[in-house]
């Protein structure tokens, strides 16, 4: 069974600085998808960035980028120029295209951005 591990329960960063959130996963499959979701206090999960395992190039979305290390099964999220609005829970998630597209989430990292 696939598992997702986020070992940082809480992180903090000063506004305009850069922070990296860690995520590792376990799977025996070679083709899969990885995601980072943001969950603000409103509870709504918002997709931040997506990575397809067969693509070697790391995904980027504006201030958000990932470091995808397939052999190490590592998928970290880097947030550059952190903003107060980035304060939220961040969840790493795994999805297998062979398993009804359900998402398997980690336990989350609470990120606090300080002014």
């Amino acid at each position: 069974a696939q598992t997702v591990t986020q070992s940082q329960p809480e992180m903090s960063v000063q506004e305009a600085e850069t922070v990296t959130l860690s995520c590792t996963y376990d799977t025996s499959e070679s083709n899969y998808y990885l995601f980072w979701y943001k969950q603000p206090p409103s509870r709504q999960m918002i997709l931040v960035i997506r990575q397809e395992a067969y693509k070697q190039q790391n995904a980027t979305e504006n201030r958000f980028s990932v470091n995808f290390q397939k052999a190490a099964k590592s998928f970290s999220l880097k947030i550059s120029d952190s903003q107060l609005g980035d304060t939220a829970m961040y969840f790493c998630a795994f999805m297998s295209p062979y398993n009804t597209d359900k998402l398997i989430f980690g336990t989350g990292t609470r990120l606090q951005v300080f002014p």
């Binding site: 509870r43 999805m95 398993n99 597209d101 998402l103 336990t107």
Partner: protein, 116 residues
């Protein structure tokens, strides 16, 4: 609608009671998912609908939990004989039908269920 709508936003019920949680997906989305998020945890998969049928209900914890989607749009998650351990946020997500592979799964704001 503009987004995934879940009602009620909050629900408090007594132990042993029956509850229904509603999810109204984005219009045209054929795939619908229910997840349960306990305090301090990530969401856990409960059930997946493709159209009207439950394509995967492997995440339902026991037979007190049941979900329907009779017309392929609105879905209702039903919990019988609620227990205090059922207290959690129940999240619904919908997508165009390819799952998160080719399209984004959009989440609602969830229903916070508290069993007292």
């Amino acid at each position: 609608g503009a987004g995934v709508s879940q009602t009620p936003s909050n629900k408090v019920t007594e132990k042993g009671k029956y509850v229904e949680l509603r999810c109204d997906p984005i219009s045209g989305h054929t795939a619908l998912y229910w997840y349960r998020q306990s305090l301090g945890q990530g969401p856990e998969f409960l059930i997946y609908f493709q159209g009207t049928g439950a394509a995967d209900d492997s995440g339902l914890p026991n037979d007190r939990f049941f979900a329907v989607r009779p017309e392929g749009s609105v879905s209702t998650l039903k919990i019988q004989r609620t227990e205090r351990g059922d207290s959690a946020v129940y999240l619904c997500a919908s997508s165009l039908g390819q799952g998160a592979v080719d399209t984004e799964a959009f989440f609602g704001q969830g229903t916070r269920l508290t069993v007292v």
